[in-house]
């Protein structure tokens, strides 16, 4: 594929991610932090986020399946998830987390379960989006091009 086309595709894709609210300005800042000294910074952080999130989602699922739900624990997990999602700029995950925490405060199990599904959904969405974006970047790099900002 044409390199220029690839690059344009990447830019469009990124813009759509911003426009659809999957990512926010924080992700831009994250990208700014990446430089020659630290060429894989974004990918590293994002994969850390994936690991962390999957662990947290599993924990959350377990915690909500319990007979008596420990809302404090759930809240702490959601707080973590919220923090890491806001750190990488996964805006939609972060927003669901906010709602999730509200339900936790109200000790509303149904709401929590619903939110968990939503978070899982948003997480998998952002994960696929980011993964495909990285794939595109990889393609560009392997084609010998530079990644447009």
């Amino acid at each position: 594929m044409d390199l220029v086309q690839l690059q344009r595709q990447l830019v469009d894709y990124k813009t759509s991610l911003y426009n659809e609210g999957f990512l926010d300005e924080q992700f831009t800042q994250l990208q700014e932090l990446q430089d020659e000294n630290n060429p894989d910074f974004v990918v590293e952080v994002v994969s850390l986020f994936f690991e962390d999130s999957e662990r947290l989602l599993n924990e959350l699922t377990k915690a909500l399946e319990q007979q008596s739900v420990d809302f404090k624990r759930v809240d702490a997990h959601v707080h973590q998830l919220k923090g890491s999602s806001s750190s990488i700029g996964a805006q939609r995950v972060q927003k669901v987390c906010i709602a999730f925490r509200n339900y936790c405060e109200e000790q509303n199990i149904e709401g929590c379960v619903k939110c968990l599904q939503q978070v899982r959904h948003e997480y998998s969405l952002v994960k696929t989006k980011l993964e495909s974006m990285f794939q595109l970047q990889q393609q560009i790099l392997s084609a010998g091009g530079s990644i447009p900002m």
């Binding site: 300005e25 924080q26 831009t28 800042q29 994250l30 700014e32 932090l33 990446q34 430089d35 000294n37 630290n38 910074f41 590293e44 952080v45 850390l48 986020f49 962390d52 702490a76 707080h79 973590q80 923090g83 890491s84 999602s85 806001s86 750190s87 990488i88």
Partner: protein, 1013 residues
């Protein structure tokens, strides 16, 4: 508080009244005891018992009052108990005093009765005794007469006495018997002797009642001698009258004087009694039997007593008829006493009975005395008792009124307190509302501002960019306003506390200057700061709040000043006091910009500090600063000058529209100045300008041995100053004040400054040559006035033979105005734009003179670049439980060249930060499981404090701790929630500041620049 006062007052009044009452009562009662006991020892029983009763009563009362007091104090909290107690007390009080007054009445009236009874008794006794005495005198005389008869009539034969002799004798001795109206003598004649007797006498014996010849009797007692007054009784047989017979018989039997019952006398028809004595033939022994006496009887002597006239005479003698009524009774027959004297009017008043003894044991007589008039009403007793009752009732009323009053006052007080509480609650509610609303506004505002930031980064055309900028500026203004309102709320609720840190006053003023420099340059207003040399370099106080005051005042000045200048001067108070007397220079012309200003000395006229004799203690390390901000602005209208420090008060509503602001700044400033133990004042002349002056007390930073949280200060000017040390500069400025300001700033760099006012002087000094002048600073005003002159000057400078010619600088007010000046380009001229600041000046000088080449990152360069300068090579610890966050934060800091160490738990952080360590700073997440950021920071501070103390007191070797004796690693909180992590909360736990997550370069720079230089 006020309730307690009222209570106390009420108590005092009550107590006073109580004492007064007791005193009155005791006085009255004591007087009575004394009077009673002195006047009336006989009434001792009553008096004694009375006084005992009184004392008992008194004890009871005092006990009671003590109890009352006790209870009063005990129940001081419960008003109702006291109230009902007083009411309960009032009733027995009234009843008790009513009873007491009744008792007193009875007591006094009985006293009076007793007294009159005594009087009566003594009078009666006196009369009775006199009557008795006189009667006895008469009786004795009659007895004597009986002896006379026995001697001269019966003892002689023939008798020596006949009727004529007897009558004459008795007549002549009548004065000796004042009570008798007549005397007669009857002889005893037996029937056997009758005829002989009748023959001898020449008359027959007659009966008394019928005056006829007496019938035959066993014996007769015909009267043979009689006083002339009673001569009609001669020849009457005494034994024929019933009374007389009995009398005669009794007399001869007893041998004593015998009295008849009172009867009507024959002639006078007045009441009288007859006294009869028996005359015996021979002397009889005193124990002779009656029969012997009868046997020996010769005759009978009788005297008539006219009782009525007798008593009358007596009473006349005593002349007390008018007050007393006297009755004399014969009470021989107990059941029906026979009245002998006196009217028989029955009177149930006082009566005294005295017994009379007339020598006849068979007859009993008594005298009854009464007062003629009824006894008068006991007025003294009545008035006294009524008086007491009235006093008691009055006292009771006073009590009642007082208690009521107290109760009312208490009620009022309660109401007031309720109202106060409500008002306070309302005030608190207001403050809370303000705080809450402000927070609530800040939260979305942060969002708005963030979004605007992002929006500006997107591809916008010029108009859009302008809109966004405007929106952002407005938003920032709003946030600033909200912060002010929060400040005000905080000050009002007294929650604002000042910091105690070391700071450099000059650096702070430089900061403020740079803050306003843009605005002042836009307006063409000259901005200057002058700080006296005597002000110490380092002060201890609250730099942030000090800065806030200065910023407020300068902000106002900038707002209202369109031309001229704004000058901030800082002096020690002592300096100003010293100069008050000597300062004579006219300040009307000699100002920074030449515009007239309001005399700043007027602005501190009302300060207390200047009124004191010894305004400051010269040996204490407190520094009294006086700061003036002088402008040549609009001034404040005279009418509004009194309201300047009132919150939300602005000069006219239109001001807010034209100049913006809330009008809260001055009020806050005033509060802050008050917190700094200072005063604020101003003078303002409309159309001329205003001068605000305030004082503040700080302590000297260098002399303090206390451990202060030392804030590391921007020491750039210091490091730079060494480069210029020993250089000489010439300032060409005809205006002394401005020259002084310029000199102050240049001297801060260690440069020696000389001031000249015109070109010639300048040249002469430069040409002197013994002291090389390294730089010449020329005021733009001088430069522009005569361009040819200035050109000439530059030429001459270049021709100076010795050494390098001095660099020439132009001090100009605003860049815009100098831009048009083309001549500057012609020669080697560096423009320094005002306001002058040490750092900026140093940078300009450096650039021009080629000394060193250290960039001055603080002015005009991007924060991220300077951030890189600040953070390069710093060892920083990041603590966050979230791996992703940790990674991002570490990445961000690494990007600025920092050496980052990560930790995920608070405990790790404590271990890493236990001295000695190499960390320059720590960023800590607040919300972490197990141990949150606040707690971890608190522990780290404890450890540091502990080690500092031990190092300081020699417990630990300093070299083991990198020769640092005061460990304090800067800890910054990282939080996504800016609201939650307020500045105070961070400070409370020992944190030095906070940055929001994710990092924002500007904020990061602001926080970090406080610690790293």
């Amino acid at each position: 508080m006020s309730l307690l006062h009222v209570f106390g007052f009420g108590l005092k009044v009550g107590h006073l009244l109580w004492i007064l009452c007791c005193w009155i009562a005791s006085m009255i009662s004591m007087n009575w005891f004394i009077n009673g006991e002195f006047k009336n020892p006989k009434a001792g029983l009553l008096g004694d018992s009375g006084s005992k009763m009184w004392f008992k009563c008194w004890d009871e009362i005092s006990n009671f009052s003590f109890k009352i007091h006790h209870q009063y104090y005990q129940y001081i909290g419960s008003k109702k108990v006291c109230k009902s107690l007083w009411r309960k007390l009032l009733f027995p009080w009234v009843i008790g005093w009513t009873l007491a007054s009744v008792w007193i009445f009875y007591y006094m009236s009985s006293h009076a009765t007793e007294k009159s009874k005594e009087t009566l008794a003594s009078m009666c006794e006196e009369r009775a005794r006199m009557l008795q005495d006189q009667f006895n005198v008469s009786m004795n005389h009659i007895q004597a007469m009986s002896i006379l008869i026995s001697t001269f009539h019966h003892g002689k034969t023939p008798s020596a006495i006949d009727q004529g002799t007897f009558a004459r004798y008795t007549e002549q001795t009548d004065f000796e018997r004042p009570l008798t109206s007549g005397v007669a003598y009857a002889v005893r004649v037996l029937h056997s002797e009758r005829e002989q007797f009748e023959r001898q006498q020449g008359w027959t014996i007659k009966r008394m009642d019928t005056l006829e010849t007496s019938p035959i009797q066993e014996e007769y007692a015909p009267v043979i001698f009689a006083q002339d007054i009673v001569s009609h009784v001669v020849s009457l047989d005494m034994l024929s009258g019933k009374e007389d017979r009995e009398n005669v018989l009794r007399a001869r039997r007893s041998g004593k004087g015998v009295l008849t019952a009172p009867f009507r006398l024959l002639k006078t028809n007045r009441l009288g009694v007859i006294l009869t004595f028996a005359v015996y033939k021979r002397d009889l022994p005193s124990n002779a039997t009656p029969n012997e006496r009868i046997e020996a009887t010769d005759g009978y002597l009788g005297g008539v007593f006219d009782i009525e006239s007798l008593v009358e005479k007596l009473l006349q003698q005593l002349s007390s008829e008018q007050t007393t009524l006297v009755n004399v009774f014969d009470t021989s027959n107990q059941s029906c006493p026979v009245s002998m004297y006196g009217s028989n009017s029955s009177n149930d008043g006082l009566e005294h009975v005295s017994h009379l003894n007339f020598g006849d044991p068979f007859r009993k007589h008594e005298m009854r005395c009464r007062f003629k008039q009824k006894p008068p009403l006991p007025w003294v007793a009545i008035t006294t008792s009524i008086g007491i009752l009235v006093i008691a009732l009055l006292v009771g009323h006073i009590f009642h009124a007082t208690v009521n009053r107290i109760a009312k006052v208490e009620d009022d007080c309660h109401k007031m307190m309720e109202l106060t509480k409500q008002a306070e609650a309302a005030d608190i509610a207001k403050s809370q509302f303000l705080a809450t609303v402000s927070h609530e506004i800040r939260t979305p505002m942060n969002g708005v501002l963030g979004m605007l930031d992002m929006l500006m980064d997107t591809d916008l055309d010029v108009t859009q960019l302008d809109y966004v900028r405007t929106a952002q500026a407005s938003g920032k203004a709003l946030v600033a306003l909200i912060n002010e309102v929060l400040d005000q709320a905080k000050i009002e609720s007294g929650k604002l506390e000042l910091e105690e840190v070391q700071f450099d006053l000059r650096a702070i003023l430089d900061d403020v200057l740079s803050l306003f420099s843009g605005k002042s340059q836009d307006k063409g207003v000259e901005l200057a700061v002058y700080i006296s040399d005597r002000v110490p370099k380092m002060l201890i106080g609250d730099p942030g709040r000090f800065r806030q005051i200065i910023t407020n005042l300068m902000g106002n000045s900038i707002k209202f000043t369109e031309r001229g200048h704004i000058l901030v001067t800082v002096h020690l108070v002592e300096e100003v006091i010293d100069s008050i007397e000597v300062e004579t220079e006219s300040s009307s012309k000699d100002t920074l910009s030449g515009f007239p200003v309001a005399d700043r000395r007027q602005s501190w006229k009302g300060f207390r500090t200047f009124g004191q004799e010894e305004p400051v203690h010269p040996f204490s390390d407190s520094i009294n600063l006086i700061v003036s901000v002088e402008d040549t602005g609009l001034g404040i209208p005279l009418d509004d000058q009194s309201r300047v420090f009132t919150p939300f008060m602005q000069v006219g509503p239109s001001i807010a529209r034209t100049h913006g602001g809330t009008g809260i700044g001055l009020s806050i400033s005033k509060c802050l100045v008050g917190l700094m133990k200072g005063e604020i004042g101003f003078v303002s002349i409309p159309k001329v300008g205003s001068t605000f002056t305030f004082t503040a007390v700080f302590s000297s930073g260098s002399s303090s041995s206390k451990v202060h949280k030392s804030q590391q200060i921007n020491s750039q000017s210091n490091t730079v100053s060494s480069e210029f040390h020993g250089m000489r500069a010439l300032v060409l400025d005809p205006r002394p004040v401005r020259a002084k300001v310029s000199r102050y700033h240049i001297q801060r760099l260690g440069i020696h400054v000389e001031i000249v006012s015109d070109w010639k002087q300048a040249l002469s000094i430069i040409n002197r040559g013994n002291n090389a002048i390294h730089m010449v600073l020329i005021e733009q005003e001088v430069w522009d006035r005569d361009l040819s002159c200035s050109g000439l000057f530059i030429n001459k400078l270049e021709k100076i033979g010795h050494g390098t010619p001095p660099k020439v600088f132009l001090l100009c007010n605003s860049i815009n105005s100098s831009r048009g000046n083309t001549t500057t380009g012609a020669c080697d001229l560096t423009i320094i734009s005002k306001p002058l600041r040490a750092s900026m000046l140093a940078a300009s000088l450096q650039r021009a003179m080629g000394i060193g080449n250290k960039g001055n990152p603080r002015n005009g360069e991007l924060p991220s670049l300077s951030l890189r300068n600040l953070l390069l090579g710093r060892k920083i610890l990041i603590v966050d439980d979230n791996n992703v966050n940790l990674k991002v934060a570490a990445g961000a800091l690494k990007k600025y060249g920092a050496d980052v160490v990560s930790a995920t738990r608070g405990i790790e952080a404590i271990e890493l930060l236990t001295p000695p360590h190499q960390f320059d700073a720590c960023f800590m997440d607040i919300q972490m499981p197990e141990m949150d950021g606040f707690e971890a920071t608190g522990r780290i501070r404890d450890v540091e404090q502990n080690i500092n103390n031990r190092v300081q007191f020699g417990g630990l070797p300093v070299d083991a701790y990198n020769n640092v004796s005061n460990w304090h690693v800067p800890i910054l909180a990282m939080t996504a929630d800016v609201i939650q992590a307020t500045h105070e909360q961070c400070q409370q736990s020992g944190m030095d500041g906070y940055v929001s997550k994710p990092f924002e370069a500007e904020q990061l720079y602001l926080e970090v620049s406080r610690f790293f230089q």
